[in-house]
């Protein structure tokens, strides 16, 4: 690859100096080192004709030849009273040419050379003398004083040009750096919110795409990662790839195949034998959590002044990916922690339900129905998840009720019924030691309260019963009536509905009950079938033992 850059014109200070001197009326030429005039004196009228004549050009070429031999070219008197002052122009460290400033004294007007120039330009001597005479106003002493001023001015212009370049570079880089810092601040501040992982992923790639010159930024999360299902095995894209969605997807998938967790970022370049679907280059940055590959970040279709991926780009991409990696790790850990928590609750409720084969799966079904109803009432996803947990543990207190009472076939005595009525309080006491379950306690304690105040354990009435508990009561009763019990077979769906309608306002919240009946019960029926199958197989195993 050729790393030499195209040259930018660097004679800005000399150009400015020529402009200023021309504004002062000084004749100015620009010549190359072979003496060829690149830019001639721009005086108008006869003076201009005189200055641009062939003899004048020849004399200037002679001057250039002499300057070429001097390390520091000096002022030259081309003929009596006609001085040229050189300013060296260099490029690539070499002398490229000169700017020549001409100073004329009145003495120059009466020399044979003056007349020779007139002859060459076919000018009338008297007219030319009058025209050039307006330029020939310097004295030798004035020239002595003016020449250093030109030198100083050029030095100042050079320094100014240099400063402008420096400030320009700083400004560009500071602007970029601020944007990079802003991006990292945003990511740092947003990554602690693990509730909605997709939001953070989108934020990260959108910000990265806007901060850089890349046409698109994508994150591919892997299927076999520990990420929650909501974000695993997906491609998130910010910006717009230059190819169609199918080709884009295929390109990403091809690279995902060959990823390894310990590999660093790589820049894939489009080539004849392996063309990229879009753009000339693509950055592939693996994102690993621990030693496992979680995802990969891709960027491509770089635009802007420099379409090649730079180390500034890769550094920012690597850092943003490190944020994503840490975020993914946190999300995975939270996800696993939640799974462990829910798993433990499910194991606990399965243990309770197993005490009575008639209630097999009861807690899970109540959890399901209560969650559905809570969504209908307008609970947020997060609140609905807590209702689900409440449903799972609502009967945990039955652990404290003897099996002989729980599974008794036939009527319960008043004393036995008293034992059963204690289970909400026992459940409450069991769970109150777990701070993470604080919010489910009301639902556990009050799920046997009745709207008319005739429930237990506290006989609460109407709105004084927590909403979660009123929801729980509906789900609990519905499931009880819909299942076989030791003392009666399951009731038909229509009869259950009737019963609920009948008890709205007495046992149940009169507003919740009709809402409950609008639920879709197909998932509930699937759970019932599943639990019945499981309970039959348990019964068979027990019989075999």
């Amino acid at each position: 690859m050729n790393h030499a850059l195209p040259a930018e014109p660097n004679d800005a200070p000399q150009m400015k100096l020529r402009e200023r001197c021309r504004a002062l009326g000084l004749p100015v030429w620009r010549l190359d080192t072979s003496g060829v005039v690149i830019d001639e004196a721009n005086q108008t009228g006869l003076a201009g004709v005189w200055l641009r004549s062939s003899v004048m050009c020849r004399m200037l070429a002679d001057a250039v030849r002499r300057w070429n031999d001097q390390e520091t070219p000096e002022r030259l008197e081309m003929f009596s009273g006609c001085y040229v002052v050189p300013s060296v122009e260099t490029i690539r460290g070499h002398r490229r040419g000169y700017t020549a400033f001409m100073f004329l004294t009145p003495e120059a007007l009466v020399t044979p050379e003056f007349e020779a120039v007139c002859a060459a330009s076919q000018s009338d001597k008297a007219a030319a003398r009058s025209a050039v005479g307006r330029l020939a106003t310097f004295s030798a002493a004035e020239i002595d004083r003016t020449v250093p001023v030109l030198d100083w001015m050029l030095n100042d212009l050079n320094r100014q040009h240099e400063s402008e370049r420096t400030i320009g570079g700083f400004t560009r880089h500071l602007t970029d750096a601020y944007e990079h810092i802003e991006l990292l601040y945003t990511l740092g501040n947003s990554m602690s919110d693990l509730q909605d992982p997709e939001r953070f992923v989108r934020l990260a790639i959108e910000q990265l795409q806007q901060t850089t010159e890349f046409g698109w930024v994508a994150v591919r999360t892997l299927k076999q990662s520990r990420l929650p299902g909501s974000i695993a095995d997906s491609i998130f894209v910010a910006g717009k790839p230059s190819c169609d969605a199918m080709a884009f997807r295929a390109m990403i998938e091809e690279f995902v195949e060959s990823l390894s967790p310990d590999a660093g970022a790589c820049i894939a370049s489009s080539s004849a034998d392996r063309p990229l679907a879009c753009g000339a280059q693509m950055v592939v940055q693996p994102i690993a959590g621990g030693s496992r590959l979680t995802a990969a970040l891709f960027t491509g279709d770089k635009g802007g002044d420099d379409p090649q991926v730079s180390s500034y780009d890769t550094q920012l991409i690597a850092t943003a990916s490190a944020f994503l990696g840490t975020f993914f790790e946190n999300v995975s850990l939270l996800n696993e922690q939640n799974a462990l928590f829910l798993g433990s609750l499910q194991a606990m409720t399965a243990a309770i339900d197993a005490k009575d084969r008639y209630t097999c799966g009861h807690s899970e079904r109540v959890a399901h129905l209560a969650t559905e109803l809570s969504r209908l009432v307008g609970f947020t996803q997060q609140q609905a998840e807590r209702v689900h947990i409440t449903g799972l543990v609502h009967d945990v207190g039955k652990i404290g009720v003897p099996e002989s009472v729980l599974c008794k076939e036939g009527r319960l005595t008043e004393a036995e019924f008293g034992l059963i009525r204690q289970h909400p309080v026992i459940g409450y006491d069991i769970l109150k030691g777990i701070p993470q379950l604080d919010d489910v306690l009301p639902g556990v304690l009050s799920h046997h309260e009745r709207w008319d105040g005739r429930g237990y354990p506290h006989g609460l009435e109407g709105d004084r019963i927590p909403l979660v508990a009123r929801i729980m009561a509906l789900a609990d009763t519905f499931d009880a009536m819909s299942s076989n019990r030791s003392y009666r077979p399951a009731m038909a769906r229509e009869r259950v509905f009737e019963e609920i309608r009948r008890c709205a306002g007495t046992q149940f919240d009169p507003e919740l009950a009709p809402l409950f009946l609008t639920l879709d019960f197909s998932e509930f029926d699937r759970l019932v079938a599943q639990h019945e199958a499981a309970s039959r197989s348990v019964a068979v195993t027990r019989a075999a033992a």
Partner: protein
Amino acid sequence: MTQQTILLADDEAHITHVVGMKLRAAGYATVVARDGEEALTLALKHRPDLVITDLQMPYMSGIELATQLRADERTAETPVLMLTARGYVLDESELRATNIRVVLSKPFSARDILRRVEEFLGRGSVPETSRLRNVA
């Protein structure tokens, strides 16, 4: 000890400004070139103790510059530190044909550069971080 000279070649003026300032503050003399050719001319003229060059420059790249420096007996032994915005990795032939000892990716801090320069020019190393134990 005589003052050591470092040639800085980069077309980005703010880079040579920052690096030059840091190096001069540390006691080095600096010569600045705006492109590869100017750098070569200045290197032969000033015989610097170290050349810091950008990879991408007008007229002559950093690699070409380093190759020419290595080929000229007057500068054959001059170490070269190359800066790049490309994550450039030298191949074997480039390593043999040049005296490039380090490739540093932009962005870098001026302190990074000074540390590497001190390593080359062997002036007092930066002390390592030491751990102080509480002794009861």
